[in-house]
């Protein structure tokens, strides 16, 4: 019996010791101040709308001026994967989308298959080029000052992104903001199809 008690006692003492060590160490670490930046207000308003839709229709062609005042047509980019994003400068989510697209563009600059087009919806050229200059963005920015192209694509909210495959067909539409990874995955999906 004595032996049995001893057998039980040793592990119990050890476990108690472990708990003590654990508590002591965790106490020690509790004091370390946390310097996390807390999530700010306004986060919800940016995320409130996001909607993915599968699609399969021919992308309506258009001709618009870019901010360098050159004519650009969708049909200029035949046999290429096109990521088409509608945006405005007054929408913070759309602004962030432009920054994300810009960093994606820096990655795929060398690619001959992928084209990123952004269409500014209904804003004056001076405002748009001001914003683009301020951010030192080098993306292709087209100006849809009358909103006609936006209408032909039936955009309902901004930012809105259309994924167009090499046959010129819209395969997917997305309303809301996309991360770089999400854009990348969708573009790769267009290759596969």
């Amino acid at each position: 019996m004595k032996r049995f008690i001893k057998l039980l006692a040793i592990p119990l003492i050890l476990i108690a010791g472990t708990v003590l060590i654990y508590l002591a160490v965790s106490q020690f670490f509790k004091k370390e101040p946390k310097e996390e930046i807390t999530i700010g207000p306004g986060e919800e308003t940016l995320k409130e709308i996001s909607e993915i839709k599968k699609a399969d229709y021919l992308a309506p062609d258009f001709e618009l001026l870019n901010i360098q005042e050159e004519k650009v047509k969708l049909s200029d980019f035949e046999n290429k994967i096109i990521v088409l994003t509608f945006w405005t400068t007054w929408n913070p989510a759309a602004q962030d989308q432009i920054a994300i697209l810009e960093s994606y563009f820096q990655e795929i600059k060398e690619s001959k298959d992928i084209v990123l087009l952004t269409i500014n919806n209904l804003e004056d050229k001076s405002i748009v080029s001001n914003f683009i200059k301020r951010g030192d963005y080098v993306l292709k920015v087209l100006l849809d000052e009358k909103g006609e192209v936006g209408e032909s694509y039936k955009i309902s909210a901004l930012p809105a992104t259309y994924f167009i495959n090499q046959e010129g067909k819209v395969k997917e539409t997305y309303i809301g903001i996309l991360s770089k990874e999400e854009i990348k995955n969708r573009v790769e999906g267009l290759y596969a199809r």
Partner: protein, 502 residues
Amino acid sequence: MLADFWLNNFHFALEFFGAVVLFALSWLAFDAFLIKKEMKTFLKGLGFLLFAGWNVVNSLGVKSDIWLTVFLFAYLLGLFFILLNLWLEKPPKKPVFEAIIVLPAISGILLSVHIAATFLLALIAVLAIKRYKGEELKSLKPLFLAFIFLAISSILTVIGLRAEEIIPLWISEHILKAIGFTFLTVWGWQHLKARIKEEMLLIFVGMALFISIIVTLTFSAILLDNMEGEAEVNLISNVRALEYSFSRMKSEALSGARFISENKEMVSALSENNFSALEEVSQKLMNEASLDFLTIADKEGEVVLRAHALTVKGDNVSQEKAASQALAGISYVTIEPTQTEKLSIRGAAPVYDSKDNLVGIVIGGFIVDNAFADRMKKITGLETAVYKGDSLVATTILGPDLKTRNVGAKQTDSKVIEQVLGKGEGMTGRTTIFSRPYLAAFLPLKNSEGKVIGMLEASRLQTGIIETANSASRLTLLVTIIIIIMALMPAYLLAKKLTEEI
């Protein structure tokens, strides 16, 4: 950051120490097997060898799923062999435990393997205790103690897989493991008492490893510290560049406002209240002066036109610092937050007609927003942030969703607030943003009266540096170990010769 480094390398050193002990034990067992040719001794050797293999893999922090799975199972198998050996050496009368290992196929495999390992470790400990009690084998005491500690440490590993607060758990786990391996060393040492040759070899290998680990890690820590110091200096110069570009933009805003205020077309359109002409000329002038915004107000301070936002007008800006100075007839530039343009660099100039009467003011300048931060990042290559007071108005760092930016968040580090906002001094230091370690430099952002209105921050992610230091020290240690293994043979011969001479 240094703490991260030490914790990480403590893990490495400990696991490696364990591996060396286990290798030694397995080698001893194989040695004994060569003499006695007993299957159970062979099992013991194999068991310890597999255990040691797992320790090596664990110490290197292998991430690949395949290898992890293979070595985890090898580890289990190893433990099972050790168990079997204990059993075979003196089978208990009744088998009390049936080791049934149930392993689900895909997810949660790590958890169940660790649970099984804990179970096996505990079982080994219990069997060792039984033998120790039954046969009064004093020599087994360190063995069961070792396995009790290893088992408890393994329980903590299991908890750690699910727990959120990992660090204290992790440290306790490693302390226990260290004690366990020490006992295992003591146990192994008993077998060596009569064998001077092996003793010498082990001392040689052990000392060499110990010294190389200490030297490498200390060296890396010093290097890391230096690198951090250098990075801080770089950050400071970069955040100064940021400050400089602010002051340059200030003078551009002022000269832009002056240039526009003296434009004849603009003056006549404003004094004649010709809005369509004013709209046209102001947009042209805003572009010419490359300003982000241009506001034209009448002599009461009521906004007549915003060239950058035509629909927003009619409000009164006379309360703003730059505007009020211009209304008093002084050209002025400052950084201030406003309703329409938010935080911006604002140059203001009075507009006089041909008879030198004040007819209004122009305010032009630059907006400090995320796009501005993006441009700064392109120039400096660093994450850039601007605060108004303690709240973030522009940043290049994306939130945890990797989409939106955390504008509006507050800087909660009291040291930063006190030194930068309170005392108006710059500072550098480590900071954590969304659970990632950054090294950051802060400078106060002052308006033209010298009052601190916010902060500038330049920061750089630090995980890269830690990883580099870790992999560098690991590589050094691995090379050391290979050299030790190569030097083992001559050392063995020397030991043999010496013992023969004795």
